[in-house]
Each structure stands twice: as structure tokens, then as C-alpha cells.
């Protein structure tokens, strides 16, 4: 059984490489023309010895060397039918061709998008982190320039931006002898060796000032560059994915609802996993760990080439089914389909056993009591009650 990976950023690529190396057939689709995602836009990453571009290239060459991995760029997922072990998806590739893929599992690794708050302020050169990285790479930032980082504007910066702030503040100070100031509400140092980065930046002369809310309109800053942190958003175009795949999201719109029992990579559906920034806000090493644990979960699921079925699944008595669709609408795991039942001679709800988690919600809500949960049948419970 093969695996479909949505997203060709570093998380998707990493997952694909691991699964390919385990011998699985993998299809990876990326909506942009190039693989690499947001990591390609960065000049450097704290803790990474090579440039992000080189790191991405290294991973992509590993990917290309594996003959069992097929990559589609400028492609997107249009439809997914079926369930764990028997997914059937349609992809729209370049030239609007439709490709059909059969696969056993899905890893969603669609990453993030960024949006920069709009602001105008007194003829400063205001740029975001993405442009800063480009600027550093293209030697656009002159030595000895005055740089101010404005952080935590209307809400706390994400980990990614907070780390980028520290890393770049030090870089500009050390390499380009810039006068660097960081204005923020809270310095984020909760990560591997982040505190060290912060202390080093201070030792080298980066000025950190605590500010409690900034009125950008009334701001008078004398500097050459004003750096504003982007807001991190779910990757655009993924709104459709929630519906196509029937997966839950959290309150901020990112993949994976916030529930401890589903961490690190599980979704509400068997066989669908999340990897990378599309569902967590973390630095590169956590993203890489996450992509590996997601791939491992998919690998274990399909390793025996069969899907294990839990004993305690639900079953529909098709004769009683009135096709009210209550069960389909209420199943948190999208494990119920409508199929024609030969025995009952009509269309009825059918519980897909391999996708069923055995919660019994469908059984309790069925107005016709047509669904029973194995080992927890109504008769059994009522008898127990007495």
C-alpha cells in the first residue's frame, strides 16, 4: 500500500525520504513549481551548519534517488474517497491533467503561509523577515546600518518568527556590525539553546528593550531598517483540504484539533497523519522530528500490508436503516458510507470497519436503533442495568 504526502516542504520531503527508504511507494504532491517550501526563503537557520538551501537540496537529492517516490509539482489534491488502506485520490497536475492514485495512508505536510501586518511609519524601510533573509543573502543590508526589530505587535510572535529575530539580530550585529535594537514584549527562549543565542546577542551589543504594546502610527524611530514579524497562517488553499479529507482543525485554523490524545501526529481519521508546521509552531529540529514520527506512524500502519480491524467496531442493521444520515454526520472519524446492501435490497449506511474507532456515537444517535456497537450492544447494556 502506498502513501500520499501532501506538501513538498522540508517536512513532506523528510517524511517521504524515510518512507521511501523503508520500501514504501510514495506519491508526494506540491502546489508550487519547486520543492522546498518556506525553508528555501531563508538565508540561515539557527543550529543548522549548512545553508537552508543546501539542506533542502540534500534532502531533495535523497528523494530523487529513491525510485519508489513519485513527485508532482504544481499539483493539488482535488478529491479523496475511501478509507485507510483503500484511499482513492484525484490530483490535478500541471496542464490540468487528472491523475488517480490509490493509497493506504495520507500525510498532510502543507506547511504555512505568512502575512505581514500593513503599516506605514515615517519613511522607514519597513520589511518583514522573509525580505530580511533575502536582503541578507543579496547583500542588501549595508554594514553599520541601524536596524530595529519590532516584535509581538498585536499578539505574541510565533516561535518561528521569535527565533528568526534572535538569529538575525545576532547575525546583523556580528557579521555586518549593524546597530541592532529589538523591541519586544517577551523574548522567546524556550527551545534548544535559544537562551544561549539571546545571551550571545546581548554580549555582542544587540540592545533588547521591553515594550508594552506599540502604537505604530505614533512611532518615531530613526533607523535604516524596521523589521516586522509576519503572522503565521495555515497554508492558503488548505481550506478545501479540511473538507476533502474530513479532518479537524484547531481554533486558529491550523490542522489537527488541540487534543493531547492525538499528539504528536494523529488526526480524527485512521490513516491520516500530520507532519510539520501545518499543525505545530516550532523550530526546525522539532519540525524534522515531527515529520519522522508521522512517517513512522504511517510506516507501522502499513508495514504488514494489511490494516488491523479493532474487535469493538459498530455495525448497521441495513433493514432498519432509514438513510437519515445522522450517523454519517455525527461520526467524528468519517467512517460511515452509504452503500447498496444486497441483503436489504436498498441503500443503507455501512460502517467501514477498518476506519471505525469503536466509540459508539453513531449507535447512540441512530433514531431507528439500527446501529449496534460490538460488545456494547443495547441489549447487553439494558440487561446489565436490570
Amino acid at each position: 500500500m502506498s502513501i500520499l504526502i501532501l506538501g513538498g516542504g522540508i517536512a513532506g520531503i523528510n517524511s517521504a525520504v524515510y518512507l521511501g527508504e523503508q520500501g514504501h511507494k510514495v506519491t508526494l504532491i506540491e502546489k508550487e513549481k519547486e520543492l522546498g517550501g518556506k525553508l528555501n526563503n531563508l538565508f540561515s537557520v539557527y543550529g543548522l551548519d549548512v545553508s537552508p538551501k543546501d539542506f533542502v537540496s540534500q534532502q531533495i537529492s535523497k528523494l530523487k534517488k529513491l525510485s519508489n517516490i513519485t513527485v508532482f509539482t504544481s499539483a493539488e489534491l482535488v478529491e479523496t474517497k475511501g478509507h485507510v488502506g483503500t484511499f482513492n485520490s484525484k490530483l490535478k497536475t500541471q496542464n490540468s491533467k487528472l491523475v488517480e492514485i490509490k493509497h493506504g495512508a495520507i500525510i498532510i505536510a502543507t506547511g504555512i503561509d505568512v502575512s505581514t501586518p500593513k503599516m506605514s511609519c515615517n519613511s522607514q524601510e519597513i520589511i518583514n523577515h522573509t525580505r530580511l533573509e533575502k536582503g541578507i543573502a543579496g547583500s542588501k543590508i549595508r554594514r553599520l546600518s541601524k536596524v530595529v526589530f519590532l516584535c509581538d505587535l498585536d499578539k505574541e510572535d510565533s516561535q518561528i518568527i521569535a527565533l528568526s529575530t534572535l538569529k538575525n539580530a545576532l547575525l546583523l550585529r556580528e557579521k555586518l556590525r549593524c546597530e541592532v535594537s529589538v523591541l519586544s514584549r517577551n523574548i522567546k527562549v524556550a527551545g534548544r539553546k535559544f537562551e544561549k543565542l539571546y545571551t550571545t546577542a546581548r554580549e555582542k551589543g544587540v540592545v533588547f528593550s521591553a515594550v508594552e504594546g506599540v502604537d505604530i502610527g505614533g512611532l518615531q524611530l530613526i533607523c535604516d531598517w524596521l523589521i516586522i514579524g509576519e503572522s503565521i497562517l495555515p497554508s492558503h488553499g488548505t481550506e478545501d483540504l479540511f473538507l476533502i479529507l474530513g479532518v479537524e482543525r484547531d481554533k486558529q485554523g491550523f490542522f489537527q484539533h488541540n487534543n493531547v490524545h492525538f499528539m504528536p501526529n494523529l488526526s480524527n481519521r485512521k490513516g491520516i497523519f500530520f507532519a510539520g508546521a501545518c499543525h505545530i509552531d516550532a523550530g526546525l529540529n522539532d519540525i524534522l522530528d515531527d515529520s519522522l514520527t508521522a512517517a513512522y506512524a504511517a510506516h507501522n500502519l502499513l508495514a504488514k500490508n494489511t490494516i488491523e480491524i479493532d474487535e469493538k467496531t459498530a455495525k448497521v442493521d441495513e433493514e432498519k436503516c432509514a438513510l437519515c444520515l445522522t450517523c454519517i454526520r455525527s461520526c467524528p472519524h468519517k467512517a460511515i458510507d452509504i452503500e447498496f446492501s444486497r441483503e436489504a435490497g436498498k441503500k443503507a449506511a455501512r460502517i467501514i470497519e477498518e476506519a471505525c474507532f469503536g466509540c459508539g456515537i453513531c449507535a447512540s444517535l441512530c433514531p431507528a436503533s439500527a446501529i449496534q456497537l460490538r460488545e456494547y450492544e443495547d441489549e447487553k447494556i439494558l440487561k446489565l442495568i436490570g
Binding site: K312, P332, C359, I361, S364, G386
Partner: protein
């Protein structure tokens, strides 16, 4: 003879199930019914309890946003509310049906709440008078 209320506890196996079981072992008037998810519980199960002479029904579900099946605890909340309305229609005190959210490591809190439930059940008295309703 001191009145010992008959209590049925529906307990989700992902909640404080083991702690609830330990209570069941000590008291014969306490019945525990395990469910894989509290979302499995329907009105008919609860009403059958009262019909068969149980004086109190406790529904134990997981805390919000921690249901292994995402929203089973929300669903059972609605079932309990609807059933309480039904009890009112039947002239049965709706206080005889109560729902609680416990995480599996909330053993102490369960013991305290349970003590209070037994007290409440004793105060409410038997659901049916001697000789039936």
C-alpha cells in the same frame, strides 16, 4: 434499616474508570457500567435505570477537549440534558441524573464528588415509594 440508595454510574473507560470500579467493589448498591466512550450512552439506557428502580444515575465523561473520540463528551452532555427534561415531564426529580467531567488522573476529585452524590441520593430518598409508584 438505613436507606442505601441504588446508584448506577455510567463511566467512560478513558475517564476515572479504575477509581470508579474500586468504589463498585466496596458497595453492592453501586452499579458501574463501562462504555468505550460516554457518547455511546443514550437516553434509553438512563431511563431504563430509573425504570428498574435506581435512585440516582451518574454519568462520568472526560473533560472537554480531551475526549479520545473528539466530541463524545459533548454529545453525552446533550443526551443528559434532554433526558433531564424528560425526567421533569415524568415528575421525577431531575437531580437524580447528573453528569461529571473527570480526567483519568482526577481520582481524589471523584471520591469527593461521589461522597456528595451519595449524600444527595440519601436526601432525595428512594425513587419509588414502598409498594411502587
Amino acid at each position: 434499616m438505613a436507606y442505601k440508595p441504588n446508584i448506577t454510574i455510567f463511566c467512560c473507560e478513558n475517564s476515572v474508570y479504575e477509581t470508579v470500579l474500586s468504589v463498585n467493589k466496596r458497595h453492592s448498591n453501586i452499579q458501574v457500567i463501562k462504555v468505550p466512550c460516554s457518547g455511546k450512552i443514550s437516553s434509553i439506557h438512563i431511563l431504563k435505570c430509573f425504570e428498574s428502580g435506581k435512585d440516582m444515575v451518574m454519568v462520568i465523561t472526560c473533560i472537554e477537549e480531551a475526549c479520545h473520540f473528539i466530541n463524545g463528551n459533548i454529545r453525552v452532555g446533550k443526551v443528559v440534558e434532554a433526558t433531564r427534561n424528560r425526567l421533569k415531564e415524568l415528575d421525577i426529580e431531575d437531580k437524580r441524573l447528573q453528569i461529571f467531567n473527570f480526567a483519568p488522573n482526577m481520582e481524589e476529585k471523584f471520591h469527593r464528588v461521589f461522597k456528595d452524590i451519595v449524600l444527595q441520593a440519601s436526601e432525595l430518598g428512594p425513587i419509588y415509594e414502598e409498594g411502587g409508584v
